[in-house]
């Protein structure tokens, strides 16, 4: 996710870091690239204008021109400004009230129903007893969809008889939740256009009736320039408390999040990262800003790993990542665990500097290369797995024959592994912005 944007910024800002001093003209050129990159990432053009103006103002000032590390300064400013925008508002997911009422609103097809199920599962893990309610009397089979999801999670789903007014559905759902001793009520609403006055009034009535503690706008990460207008219209009608950015597992650059937060001040509270009901992640602005700048996201990686590994293993892996003592043996172990953790593309994209490899990695899984990699590593001796440097030509030929692969395959794996180790070593140095700040 966000790969293309981070690539662009890396290229532009990389040119800046290559020199000791940065002129005003350099900053101008860089800002042109930043503008284009952000626009191609679907960041609203007005937000882009403000953003580049702010960065330019700070960058062309004395602090950069007098500094010997001009590139570092510009990177830092872009990073800080991105983080500042993405840090807008209060990102806590509030669950006060009995029941705590959460309302999901948004355009058609943004992913409200799927998100409702994901949130229900999320609060179950917080130790709560949720109930889902379908307040979508319009889309054919919308209620069925929620029912199916609820059944798969073993969470009750409230649905009113056909023809019930939407605010009534809300009140009925609250009664039902109290009756069944449910402490959290998640209300799924119909998709609606922000310019549909009747339906916007309806959802406003619903919110007035159920007094939600959280009213979340569900936004598709692929949405274009209209994101801001849509968010503003919803914010005017209902008491929005935050956003859920969905379908972020695609390659959409997700500029919508930046735009909406910049204009409305609303925080992103969750990311939807897949079609399954567990694909919901909390949002971390600093990590996301870091990812936009190509700094990777080791923290999220470790966090996700926690669900699949026990704590001791996580600690071991974190240590290995830091000290770059990661061996092919560990890689083999990893490959076994990866299946539990989600797609390898997700995992790889979180390793600093490897964002570009994510798609490649996913492709290789789909082509069955994971199996080949496994076979190659299994054909190595323990000594070879620990130190691939000892792999001379004859050892490689033996491994190729032993694993039923070709010498090219073995060479490719060794090369990839060496590169990976190099990346991790850079990361382990404890520098704040690896890969971006010059090449000492």
């Amino acid at each position: 996710m966000f790969d293309a944007l981070s690539e662009r910024l890396r290229r532009t800002l990389g040119a800046l870091t290559g020199r000791g001093r940065v002129s005003e003209a350099d900053v101008e050129a860089a800002m042109r690239e930043v503008r284009l990159a952000l626009l191609e990432a679907d960041v609203n053009f007005r937000v882009v204008k403000d953003f580049t103006a702010r960065v330019r103002e700070r960058a062309v000032g004395a602090e950069v021109l007098e500094s010997l590390n001009a590139g570092q300064q510009v990177v830092k400013i872009v990073y800080e400004e991105l983080t500042a925008i993405l840090s807008a508002g209060d990102r806590t997911f509030h669950l006060a009230g009995s029941p705590a009422v959460v309302v999901l609103v948004g355009l058609q097809g943004s992913g409200k129903t799927t998100t409702a199920a994901k949130l229900a599962r999320h609060v179950v893990r917080l130790g709560r007893r949720p109930m889902l309610a379908a307040a979508d009397p319009y889309r054919p089979a919308a209620v069925d969809q929620l029912r199916v999801l609820g059944r798969s999670l073993d969470i009750p789903v409230y649905a009113a008889v056909a023809g019930t007014a939407v605010p009534e559905i809300g009140r009925g759902a609250i009664d039902a939740a109290r009756h069944e001793v449910r402490d959290t009520l998640i209300l799924d609403t119909a998709g609606r256009l922000s310019i549909d006055e009747v339906l916007m009034a309806e959802v406003a009535d619903l919110c007035a009736a159920v007094r939600p503690v959280e009213t979340l706008l569900v936004v598709d990460a692929m949405v274009g320039q209209e994101a801001v207008g849509v968010a503003q219209a919803f914010a005017a009608a209902v008491p929005l408390t935050g956003l859920v950015l969905t379908k972020i597992d695609g390659d959409a650059r997700g500029g919508a999040a930046l735009s909406i937060s910049a204009v409305t001040g609303l925080p992103v509270k969750f990311l939807g990262t897949g079609e399954k009901t567990d694909a919901l992640e909390p949002f971390h602005p600093d990590r996301l800003a870091g990812r936009i700048l190509g700094m990777g996201d080791v923290l999220t990686l470790v966090e996700r790993a926690q669900d699949a590994f026990d704590a001791k293993q996580v600690e071991k892996m974190g240590e290995k990542l830091r000290t770059a003592s990661f061996t092919l043996e560990d890689m083999l172990e990893q490959l076994q665990q990866v299946k539990k953790m989600g797609s390898i593309g997700d995992i790889v994209s979180m390793i600093p500097g490897m964002g570009g490899l994510a798609k490649e990695a996913q492709d290789s899984v789909d082509r069955g290369e994971l199996k080949r990699t496994e076979a190659i590593i299994r054909a190595m001796t323990p000594a070879e797995r620990r130190d691939p440097a000892i792999l001379n030509a004859s050892r490689r030929r033996r491994i190729a024959a032993g694993s039923g692969t070709s010498l090219t395959d073995v060479n490719r794996l060794v090369r990839q592994f060496t590169e990976m180790q190099k990346m991790m070593r850079q990361l382990g140095g404890g520098r704040r912005l690896p890969g971006l700040l010059g090449r000492r």
Binding site: F45, P140, G224, A227
Partner: protein, 370 residues
């Protein structure tokens, strides 16, 4: 095994064991019986319609009853359909163009206006640069309009979604990422085709999303067309194969297949789609399926990556631009048509069954400028 025994009088071909290993989870007899009933109902409705001289539909299509003849929509129609979304955009462009001889700042504003319409920054810059080159005596609006129109794919004015000849059904495969409006578009398309006198069958090959099959069934009821479905989780290729079989056996005109929404970056899911395509090619060799890509008009620059990936995986023949009644402008269409030469065929302008209009490129560009 999904293979079904045919009624006597028609020789069943050799079971293509290699065609698909998918296991149908619904007993064949059940599908057969259900299909018989749905077909009978649809036939009865058609016969009744013929007798009365009108077309009876569960819901009226596109306005007054009887006005169901699918005509190419004129600028006025499309303009009306998207009027709500165009107001601000058009007013701004108009304002810009009313200022007389355009200076650099004016062109920059034009560029910004195109960007705000999701045309894309790179393309907007190109379009404006070329429009400036034109030195169009009719003014910048005319120049930009001409440049935008030139980006659209060439298309045959007489195009229609026609069934294949020689007694074999035409096939329409509907694809796209999650939540763009595939199922809704299919419901509208089915009603449109049926109103044109074609006997349509829907294939519920979205076996993944919860209740997708139910949703398609409800649209089938509304449009008055039968639906072939297996149980949730079944192999989509098997569903399509079954639907094609049923359509051939009954001599139907058109099979429209729904598919699960999938992000274009998921290689295995894209492969699954390619497999569905192969199932069609094997069951009906020589029938060139219409592959319609449903694009949400609110989509930004990612729309191009989506279209490219789907085109690469299965070969798109057309686009349905859904949700054009929103505030979005659908400007990404220019980049897609320019890049892939795949034309937009229909636009979705609402949630009602008649809210699907044929795409008219002139009207689309004109609607952009009011």
């Amino acid at each position: 095994m999904f293979w079904r025994r045919r009624p006597s009088g028609e020789s069943a071909g050799p079971a293509p064991a290699e065609a698909d290993g998918g296991a149908a989870t619904v007993p064949d007899a059940e599908i057969e019986a259900q299909l018989e009933a749905e077909l009978a109902a649809a036939d009865a409705a058609l016969a009744e319609a013929a007798a009365e001289g009108t077309t009876t539909m569960p819901e009226p299509i596109g306005g007054p009853a009887g006005a169901v003849e699918p005509e190419p929509v004129g600028p006025a129609d499309l303009g009306a359909g998207v009027a709500r979304s165009r107001g601000g955009f058009v007013a701004r462009l108009r304002g810009l163009f009313g200022l007389g001889e355009p200076d650099a700042a004016t062109w920059e504003e034009v560029e910004e206006t195109l960007i705000a319409g999701d045309v894309g920054a790179t393309l907007a810059i190109e379009v404006v640069a070329r429009a400036m080159e034109r030195h169009d005596p009719a003014g910048p609006e005319s120049a930009v309009r001409a440049e935008l129109a030139a980006l659209l794919a060439p298309r045959d004015a007489g195009w229609d979604l026609s069934p294949a000849d020689s007694g074999r059904p035409g096939v329409v495969l509907v694809v796209g990422v999650n939540g763009t409006g595939k199922t809704t578009s299919i419901g509208k398309l089915a009603a449109r085709e049926r109103a044109a006198g074609r006997r349509v069958l829907l294939a519920a090959a979205d076996t993944f999303r919860a209740a997708a099959i139910d949703q398609l069934r409800l649209w089938g009821e509304r449009a008055g067309v039968p639906v072939v479905a297996h149980a949730p989780g079944a192999d989509p290729g098997a569903v399509v194969f079954d639907a094609l079989d049923a359509a051939v056996a009954r001599g139907l005109d058109l099979v429209i297949a729904d598919t699960a929404g999938r992000l274009h970056t998921k290689v295995n899911l894209m492969d699954e789609l390619a497999k569905v395509r192969r199932v069609i090619d094997r069951r009906l060799p020589g029938v060139r399926p219409e592959v319609l890509f449903v694009l949400d008009a609110t989509t930004g620059q990612n729309g191009l990556a989506q279209a490219r990936a789907f085109h690469e995986a299965i070969g798109l023949t057309g686009i349905v631009l859904a949700k054009l009644d929103s505030t979005a402008k659908g400007g990404i269409v220019f980049a897609i048509e320019h890049d892939l030469a795949v034309p937009v065929r229909f636009v979705g302008v609402g949630e009602k069954i008649g809210d699907l209009l044929p795409f008219d490129p002139d009207a689309f560009v004109a609607a952009l400028f009011g």
